[in-house]
């Protein structure tokens, strides 16, 4: 399977990239790591007239942390993100989730921006960015705008990005003290897309009361699914009964598809079991005993 004919541009700056996007409009398509787009070209699921390759736009490849948070340039390779010492230390949820993306060879090329822009319904990063309350920065020749992660993925393989917009970076806020995390995934084989994956964050106060808890599932529908934990976990010291109730809420929140990989019923079961495991671990890591 060979890709269809396309014309090729390789801008070296954000400025040039934005101009190329404005010039070609819907005929142009950005090429980042190519780990999703090139298979789609080869299978003729996408036929852009022009590929705008951003691999030489080195200003988009960076990871920067300060007291307020972490900024990740769109062209940061997934493998570079998960190996970044500051990410491993301060945002272990992000590092752990990224480790579940395909195989090393995929992550050597695949980018953070590409994963978010592609928005595969079983992808790890869009779900984790939602759990982390991240904010995406996008820009075009008309200017720049910020999109909260919760508004970024709008439907199956569809984001809030306009065809002429470039995803520049994603910002992840620093986590409050006494915040525990967990990432749980079940896939058919290591490196396969998730059947279901769950990201959890739990924050406790000094007395052990849960002040914030976030749970996001992926692989269970067209977009990542956040679960509202205000009725179950938030506001009290976590108990096994509260965790079980939160896991039930997770199962109730999803309406997963049946496909060749797994029936809906099994995915619903996984949603509950993985939510329970993830919340239990996150509570432990936050310093609570559950």
């Amino acid at each position: 399977m060979k890709p269809p004919v396309f014309d090729y541009r390789a801008p070296v700056s954000v400025e040039e990239t934005q101009q190329a996007l404005a010039e070609y409009q819907a005929d142009g398509k950005l090429l980042a790591g190519g780990q999703s787009l090139v298979p789609m070209l080869n299978m003729r699921l996408a036929r852009p007239a022009v590929l705008i390759d951003i691999n030489r736009v080195t200003e988009l490849a960076f990871v920067r942390a300060d007291d307020g948070g972490l900024t990740i340039g769109a062209l940061t390779r997934q493998q570079a993100l998960l190996e970044h010492p500051t990410v491993q230390e301060r945002w272990p949820l992000l590092a752990e989730a990224t480790r579940h993306i395909g195989h090393r060879t995929i992550r050597n090329r695949g980018t953070v921006g590409g994963s978010l822009a592609h928005a595969d319904p079983a992808a790890e990063l869009p779900a984790v960015m939602l759990a982390l309350d991240a904010v995406v920065t996008v820009s075009s020749t008309r200017g720049e705008r910020q999109i909260p992660a919760r508004d970024f993925v709008v439907d199956y393989l569809t984001t809030a990005l306009e065809p002429t917009e470039l995803l520049r970076s994603v910002w992840v806020p620093a986590l409050p003290p006494r915040t525990g995390w967990a990432f749980q995934e079940v896939s058919r084989r290591h490196g396969d897309f998730a059947l279901v994956a769950v990201a959890a964050l739990v924050t406790l106060d000094a007395a052990g009361v849960c002040t914030d808890a976030r749970l996001v599932l992926t692989g269970v529908g067209p977009t990542p699914v956040p679960v509202d934990l205000r009725q179950t976990l938030i506001g009290a010291a976590p108990s096994p009964a509260a965790v079980a109730a939160a896991a039930e809420a997770a199962q109730a929140a999803v309406d997963p598809p049946s496909d060749v990989h797994a029936p809906a019923e099994y995915r619903r079961h996984l949603a509950r079991v993985l939510a329970r495991r993830a919340l239990t671990t996150a509570i432990e890591r936050a310093g609570g005993t559950e």
Binding site: M1, K2, A10, P39
Partner: protein
């Protein structure tokens, strides 16, 4: 008709130049234009890993890259593992000695994936970790057991031989 682009790539230590259409994949470029058929093509959509080569020392799927994107970069293919005098690389020897191949179709990709892994982990971790490292390459014959054994054996040979695998450059 889309105009061809000049590309200059260092492949197995040699500078190679050609004119290619943008749609030419790196895999086809290596196989057809540079006459290096050691890079195998299975699925041509990123799933089987058999087209794995090293780009600036990092494994990549050559069916998911275009030759134009490799312009200015360094590529190592399986042909580049053999020493100029024809001696097999210790990994190749270990694959041979430990029966780590049957039909051999996945072998170039396995060798290069293992090469990258041993660069980063001269002393390999558990069998589980080695399996994770090679998990991106599908083998339809061996059941992987002997591949894991061979990688471990090659690591022992390479570390005993003095210079760590990292010192073996693309060109040697």
């Amino acid at each position: 008709m889309v105009e061809k682009r000049p590309v200059t790539v260092t492949v197995n230590g040699q500078v190679r130049q050609a004119e290619v259409e943008p749609r030419r994949t790196l895999a086809d470029f290596l196989r057809e234009d540079l006459n290096l058929p050691g890079t195998h093509l299975g699925c041509e959509h990123g799933v089987c890993g058999n087209c794995t080569v090293l780009l600036d020392g990092q494994s990549v799927r050559a069916c998911l890259m275009f030759a134009v994107q490799a312009d200015g970069h360094e590529i190592l293919t399986v042909e580049g593992l053999v020493a100029p005098n024809g001696d097999l690389h210790p990994l190749q020897e270990a694959f041979w000695e430990h029966h780590a191949l049957q039909c051999g179709f996945c072998t170039p990709a396995m060798l290069l994936t293992a090469y990258e892994y041993l660069q980063q982990h001269p002393v390999p971790g558990s069998d589980e970790e080695i399996r994770e490292a090679i998990g991106g390459v599908l083998c339809r014959c061996t059941g992987y057991q002997n591949i894991v054994t061979a990688i471990r054996a090659a690591a022992t040979k390479l570390t005993a031989a003095g210079p760590a695998p990292a010192s073996r450059s693309v060109a040697d």
